[in-house]
């Protein structure tokens, strides 16, 4: 304990598929640490007295604790520590923006590269999948306490709330609008970033706890929230995400060949259009694709387009690299694969042909002015900078907002001015009796980990409330 560990300031690189190879397949890009690599990276952790990492984690995972267990060769212990706070580590290890969370507050960052916490998290989660017997998952159904909770939407928030409550003995029914459970993890985030078997594993686990999953159930249509409460559910947890796509609001947006990122990704990931015609759902990509926006969603759409066979894929973004909202890792992956970044560029209109297909986009360049209300510098049009590029496909990836189906069909559910459900952050309570909410529907488009964390807090509050109400 007393010998000062010598600092190793370089992280162990993660093996990846080579860019030229991966740009033509949908297999996972990052291959994950092997055992010796994981232990070497874990060995860099100095187990500091005042760990910053834990505070950087939105759900306060005991990061030094699970890394210590790894170093001690206690993998089941590492799994237990990790999962006591994060129910979806295999997913979060792959998709969390660690560089702005735990890894940003890792004390090593002052000297060199922070611990690759995300990669270690993923390693521990994948170890558990490979050693199903090693850790007691609490896989059996808990003794039923006779009370029932309905969970609406099966994304990370819904899956977490359902499993937490099932473990506490509640009879949980999870309603999902689509024909597959998993939310954005299934329909949005592509296979090459998050293999669907990992998500399916989590869904199967939730089922093994006795949660009944009812697919093809759009709440608000087949039954309203009020009807669920009347039909004998003691409480309802709303986690329908924020899935309604936004468009650019420029001329030409209804041409064929213009897809919202959600549609493009849903066709690709959920409907497996990349396997057309073995799968029935078609998708059109063409030679040149323009993706508008620069968040994770834009990176995913552009990289899918490339894998679907496009020759040139542009990311068109009106601000500069500094303001780009996508995770650094994903931006770098995209760049390596050959996505072309047209920064400080904004579209004027989409131009179509006789058949109503998109053929070109007119653009202008921007200069960055004073910061706007978001604190980022406002892009202004540079006079005389207009130009046109020919494209076959246009994909606005501008973010999403809450879907109106539940708000419109639920009496007494107060909304914010952004259309999200007004929710108490600490408890998930809404303005409506016996109704809780969490995930993107409460916060607007956010992250997997924050959705999961909110669902955990709501599960605790639902349990306390139902116990209190006898």
């Amino acid at each position: 304990m007393n010998d000062k560990p010598k600092l190793n300031l370089e992280r162990v690189p993660i093996p990846k598929q080579a860019p030229e190879e991966r740009a033509t397949n949908f297999d996972e890009v990052a291959l994950g640490y092997r055992e010796e690599q994981a232990l070497q990276e874990a060995g860099r952790c100095i187990d500091c007295k005042k760990p910053g990492c834990k505070d950087g984690c939105p759900v306060n995972v005991d990061i030094p604790g699970f890394i210590r267990a790894m170093k001690d060769g206690d993998m089941p212990g590492a799994v237990r520590i990790l999962k006591s706070k994060n129910s979806l580590p295999g997913i979060c290890g792959r998709v969390c923006p660690q560089e702005t969370q735990c890894e940003l507050t890792c004390n090593l960052i002052k000297k060199g590269a922070p611990i690759a916490i995300g990669r270690l998290e993923r390693y521990v989660a994948d170890w558990e999948i490979a050693h199903p017997e090693a850790v007691e998952r609490g896989g059996q159904e808990a003794r039923r306490n006779g009370r029932r909770v309905a969970v609406v939407g099966s994304g990370p928030a819904g899956l977490t709330c359902a499993s937490d409550l099932a473990k506490l003995g509640y009879g949980v029914t999870l309603f999902e609008a689509l024909h597959v459970a998993g939310g954005v993890l299934m329909y949005g985030i592509p296979e090459f970033r998050l293999p669907k078997t990992i998500v399916q594993g989590e869904v199967d686990y939730v089922k093994s706890l006795g949660v009944e999953i009812r697919l093809n159930h759009v709440i608000g249509k087949i039954a309203t929230v009020d009807e669920l409460l009347e039909q004998g559910f003691d409480a309802v947890f709303l986690s329908p995400g924020a899935g309604a796509p936004m468009f650019l609001d420029i001329p030409g947006e209804n041409l064929s060949g213009v897809y919202s990122a959600n549609e493009f990704l849903t066709r690709t990931n959920l409907m497996k259009a990349y396997l057309f015609p073995e799968y029935d759902t078609p998708i059109q990509v063409g030679r040149r694709v323009a993706v508008f926006g620069a968040g994770n969603v834009a990176m995913d759409a552009s990289r899918c387009a490339l894998r679907l066979g496009a020759d040139e894929v542009y990311i068109i973004y009106r601000r500069s690299l500094t303001e780009m909202p996508a995770r650094l890792e994903e931006r770098e992956n995209a760049e390596e694969e050959g996505i072309i970044f047209r920064l400080q560029t904004n579209p004027i209109r989409l131009v179509g042909d006789e058949q109503g297909r998109v053929r070109a986009v007119e653009l202008y360049e921007t200069e960055l002015g004073e910061p706007d209300e978001s604190g980022r510098r406002r892009p202004v049009r540079k006079p005389g900078s207009e130009f046109t590029i020919e494209i076959d496909t246009a994909i606005p990836a501008l973010g999403t907002r809450p879907n109106p189906i539940i708000p419109l069909s639920t009496k007494g559910l107060e909304l914010t001015r952004w259309g999200t459900v007004l929710t108490d952050e600490a408890t998930g309570r809404t303005s409506k009796d016996r109704v809780w909410c969490g995930g993107d529907m409460a916060t607007g488009a956010a992250t997997v980990i924050s959705a999961m964390g909110a669902a955990r807090r709501a599960a605790i509050d639902i349990d306390a409330w139902l116990k209190g109400s006898g």
């Binding site: 609008a177 689509l178 024909h179 329909y187 697919l215 093809n216 159930h217 759009v218 249509k221 087949i222 039954a223 899935g243 309604a244 796509p245 468009f247 947006e253 209804n254 041409l255 064929s256 060949g257 897809y259 919202s260 959600n262 549609e263 849903t266 066709r267 409907m271 497996k272 396997l275 057309f276 015609p277 073995e278 799968y279 029935d280 759902t281 078609p282 059109q284 058949q355 109503g356 297909r357 879907n403 109106p404 189906i405």
Partner: protein
Amino acid sequence: MYRIVKKELLVPNTIYLQAEAPEIARKAQPGQFVIMRVDEVGERFPLSLAGWDEKAGTLDVIFLIMGRSTMKLASLSEGDCIMDIVGPLGKATEIESYGNVLCACSTFGVGPAIPLAKALRERGNRVISVMEARDEGFLFWEDRLKEVSDETHIASGDGCRGKHRRASEFITEHLKSGHKLDRVFAYGRVFMMMECSRATRPFGVKTTVALTPVMVDGTGMCGCCRVSVGGETQFTCVDGPEFDGHSVDWEVLIKRKRAYLREEAQAYDLWQPDNLRKIAGLAGLPERSSAV
């Protein structure tokens, strides 16, 4: 899984199916639709509700065999199961006391016109139904339509039943001869709905049409079903499917519906040889019918 209870070839290329879906049957209202996925590799595609029976827990659809998905559906027999049915989707028709209402329908539109006419009549409207068909051989459910209408007319392309060949012609003449209509509904092929809207426009009779763009999720998540109505972009699956026919930008709808013609032909051709046998007995499979 949703079991098929009844299946019937109504007229060439047009099939009636009844399937078990008790929860949907309990909530269905006129104007709504379902989305189906026939099998594991299937696409999601919408069909209008042509009826439902809450007690029996069943719903009815009528569909035209257009391409791969509808052909797959047609290849299932009574007792077989459809993998996924989700619904009821879309907004229900606004059933109000309008006065004199005309319901025009053609092909699969005859299905949803029946619960519509019934509900309108129950609200005290006087309902005139006009059914458009290519020729005598394509007429079906005339008796059912009569049962729920005060007056029923046929407009037939070959002139076999009176002088009107199109529903829109009937509407024009009816209005010209001084009859008053307070509301028109048109369900069926895009071209027919467009013509009906054109016929009522000079008389200022509000005309409701049920649009059929390509869809994926049907829950407002993808925007594939967007249409332009009165200059505004609307999502048909959540804001519709019914819109004011005088405000619809038909050109956008028609062009977007035709976006996948090449892929559709490819999928159909690939699927057809192995599976045509299964739908043998469904007489009169025509050449690929056009989308609009």
